[in-house]
Symmetry: D2
Subunit: 179 residues, 4 copies
């Protein structure tokens, strides 16, 4: 939520109007799973962000955020990847708009198993190869590059909230690299 | 826009709030292209709705509409297909959430070539097999089942506005049946 | 292999030539995962075939088989689904050729984790809704309809060989229904 | 066919066996459409190879070829892209095995509209971003980078045989950039 306040151009009023929109309609979101890849396209590592929630709990997540009004999906992908990974990350934005899945986050944690207490969000999910140097933002404590095997360690999956542990496994299945 | 007024539960106020949301964020939309199919899955006909716009112009379109807050994508697909094709249409909702493409409609007709003067909409596009009897709603003047060849007739494509002629061709490409 | 002998039109010679082809090039295969679905497209059950291998071991598998020379993929899907599920199964063949994944089976079990001791096969994988009554063939001992939760029971996954336990999980991820 | 002779390790005998395989089963093929992309993933140009057929006719085509027995799809993609574009092309192999479409080429030109007089081939089609310098091989007369608009020029489409003009349009639809 703090991100939306930061982004709002008109300050308090804009954020208030955004809150009203959030109560009226589902939001368009993106989930981008950063990946290190071999020359033949094999994914060797996935990038997980270690973030502190507003209540101080640590959790691992992907690059994620909403699409602004008037913004292209591919520009929103660039914006969120740069915000979270820094300006030298050199993400390879997917060429086609078809996502590998669409995730439906609801305030009701039971509805789909994908949970966002703030809002109903419909998120287009992509795996994004990242070639450059990543400098996680201040909000992010750490960016960890984990092998597919490491990423599926129960300890890691447990640190992913809101269903992101399932999204990770869906991404691995899409990539053809399940355990 | 009339559809949103009809759907709004709180009348004038609700519609006003929806208008505010529409000015703040992109809306989550669906495009569903009805199809008649052979037993081996070959698409023989596509369903095009002939509708009159508020300014009295006729145009051909697909089943289309927004996802409500709190609503699953697959339930929104059922709702829109039943609204436009009647309760006996027996649509076969896709098993997986992955759309064949994502269409970005903007009030600025030049931005992507997909145009919606009312709003920025991000639309998940699906082809939906329809087995049953279709009774188009009053708002729809006619439902025409066209063969892929007929659907690509320049006269037909010309009656599709907002970029839907291109979406039709993208759907045919996805189905493997380009001219 | 017995299936190929049965199918071969020229008897011994044809099978011998097929064996030579198998030693020269990868074969085009299909994996079709049968599914029971709700009216809104939600998958409620997956169909697993219980088969006995030539060495007498029981294992669970999907509908699977090769594409013949001169045969359309969608016709091969119909043929294999009818062969394994009977003529009244009424499978809903996917409208588009895009598979949810491509599985690479190798005689070397380590290469991809997908293993076929007989051949290198490149298999297009689809989930196929099945509406009708299924009568498994003689070669199949049983067709079990399992819920997604039941299908992911470790005891069930253990009965799936050649990597099909992973393909099952990839299919569930594609369908948006991971545990 | 000359390519297969060149590649065959056992000379005449191997090629003869390959010819027998080709008469028995469909071959696993790849179509890779090279693309130049902007930092936000927008495709700016498509790469078309100008080749002379054995009968001396010029035609435009994509990078294309078969998957060898024992070879991973992603390694075959690298091999064919390097062979046709040179060792400095730096192709970005897709991360996931899901192709954007599957093309069925038949000796019978009427069957699907995709035609290969030599064989039945089932081809997985991908768009592949190419970052580096391309040096087309001797067999290729020219590599032309065309904008999507230029690539859809009727004169260009006419120079593409075997249905590749349609595959080009299917690729553009998948990329979201139809005319």
């Amino acid at each position: 939520m703090s991100a939306d306040m930061t982004e709002a151009q008109g300050g308090w009023l804009a954020t208030d109007q955004f809150q009203q929109a959030r109560d009226q309609v589902p939001l368009v979101y993106l989930d981008a799973i950063p990946a290190r890849v071999d020359p033949n396209g094999s994914v060797t590592h996935l990038g997980l962000l270690l973030q502190a929630t507003s209540s101080g709990i640590l959790n691992r997540t992907f690059v994620s955020g909403r699409v602004h009004r008037g913004e292209l999906i591919r520009d929103a992908l660039v914006r969120h990847l740069e915000k979270d990974l820094g300006p030298m990350a050199l993400p390879r934005i997917p060429l086609a708009p078809q996502p590998f899945t669409v995730v439906e986050y609801f305030p009701d944690a039971e509805k789909t198993g994908f949970h966002d207490p703030r809002q109903h969000a419909v998120s287009l999910a992509y795996v994004v190869a990242v070639d450059g140097d990543c400098e996680p933002s201040q909000q992010t404590l750490e960016l960890a590059w984990l092998t597919p095997v490491e990423a599926q360690n129960p300890d890691v999956l447990q640190e992913m909230t809101g269903g992101r542990d399932r999204l990770l496994q869906m991404a691995l299945g899409y990539l053809g690299i399940m355990p």
